[in-house]
Amino acid sequence: MISSANFEDYFFVFRDIIRSVHSSTSLKEVLDVVVQKSTEVLNARGAFLRILNPETNQFEVGAGFGMGERYLHKGPVTTEKMLRDPSELHKVLIITDIWHAPRVEYPQQAWDEGIRMMLDIPLAIKEKMLGLIRIYLSEPRTFSKDELDFIVTVAEQCTCIIERVRLTENQQAHFTHLATQMEKMSSLGRMAAGIAHEINNPLGGILLFSSNMAKKVEPGSFLEKGLIIIIRETQRCKTIIQGLLEFARDKKPQKVPTDVNKIMATAMGVVQNEFYLRHVTVEKHMAEDMVKTLLDENQIEQVFINLLLNALHAVEDHGRVTVQSTVVPARNSIQVEIADNGCGISAQDVKKIFEPFYSNRANGTGLGLAVSYGIIENHQGDIQVFSEPGKGTRFTIELPVVTDPANGKENA
């Protein structure tokens, strides 16, 4: 049997789909229109549009039309059956023998529902499958090239819409995450400042008495040993609190036009000895055309030192650390990258890496990266981490190129 639909009918289907895209804010509403209109114009029994959930690797119903409730609840549809061959991602697959087609997971239910033929149209971008439209027919028939073209075009439209919605959702999730993070850090900062002051006073007593007593006990005695430990540990507390205060202080950066390569050179000078002692080599690839931008030299230097020391601690002796700077004219920004071939960070830990007090090192305060994050944030920049356990870690910092014409300063 040949479909009776003419080009005018196809045109109206497109028109309705495009209208729903423009008028609706919900993806579900648009997909409902797609399945209903496609079913009607193809004179089919019904259609399901399934979207692939990358977390469960299963297809979930995004929209359905014309099929019974029982069929809808027949069970999950897995990817293994659907994704046999990536070359099938961009064409319509016609299933006439539903009993023996490997893609049909529930042939009995389909047969009971009165289905005798199916069309599978993947929703795919390049090699990535986002979902699938399956059209159900009560009796087998042939499809003209125009009809198949129409179906593929509808699928392409759907793919674009789904991808766009996904991107927006991802962006929203990212922003919400950032906002929570900021809130958490600022309230913690306020608390930290108060606690730090209260703790420094009793520590002051401990350190004065213990350092004084250490001179009065017999050299080499257990008492001296114990006192030295007390002194050392009290000084460790001091370092932690200094870090805390550094973190808590919402210090406005003192920005001057600076060459980021120069800051990196100073930072590397500070840590050079440590690298040398551990036989860790540093490879430098600094942009020769680096432009000046408004930066707080001390703060950015602190970030670089933090990242360099982190890299040093991540690699074994004789490891390799790579430092790179680039100008990104298209984004009017500069990028600095510090990478190591060290132990790497697990995906789970990467999520928490910029949170205060998160540390993998026995003697780490867990504030270095939190402070660094705050500093880059105060420069309207972005800091990101990419890591693979066993292979290494890469931190990238992106800073906007900012001039200060008010002060007559140029960034050239």
Binding site: N201, N212, R249
Partner: protein, 123 residues
């Protein structure tokens, strides 16, 4: 080094007592005051070589006391002490006329060194 007459002002008596112990062992005399107004009247009445001044006192701000000292006794040597171990605090105090700065917690050696340095600078 000649024995000095030192006034320690801190509401944390453990700090005052520790300073007293460390400095008296070096032959200096230490007087202790635990709040701002007592500290200020001691400064006005006594003849001190050095004042160890905490920046956060229950009744007065240390910076306020520092300003008064600079007006009334500009020759008096002041070493400020603070629990807010930040450079900006130190810079501010030095700008106001303090001779040295101690970030809590500090060791006995750091205290002695600060006192000696401040004294030398005054000479």
């Amino acid at each position: 080094m000649k024995p000095l007459n030192i006034l320690a002002i801190d509401d944390e008596s453990v700090i005052c007592e520790a300073c007293e112990m460390v400095l008296s062992e070096k032959g200096h005399t230490v007087t202790m005051r635990n709040n701002g107004s007592d500290g200020l009247s001691a400064i006005r009445q006594g003849a001190y070589d050095i004042v160890l001044l905490d920046m956060k006192l229950p009744d007065m701000d240390g910076m306020q006391i520092l300003k008064i000292v600079m007006e009334e006794k500009p020759g008096l040597c002041v070493i400020v002490m603070t629990g807010y171990s930040s450079i900006s605090n130190a810079v501010e105090a030095i700008k106001q006329g303090a001779d040295n700065y101690l970030a809590k917690p500090f060791t006995d050696d750091e205290l002695i060194e600060a006192v000696e340095k401040a004294c030398q600078n005054k000479k």
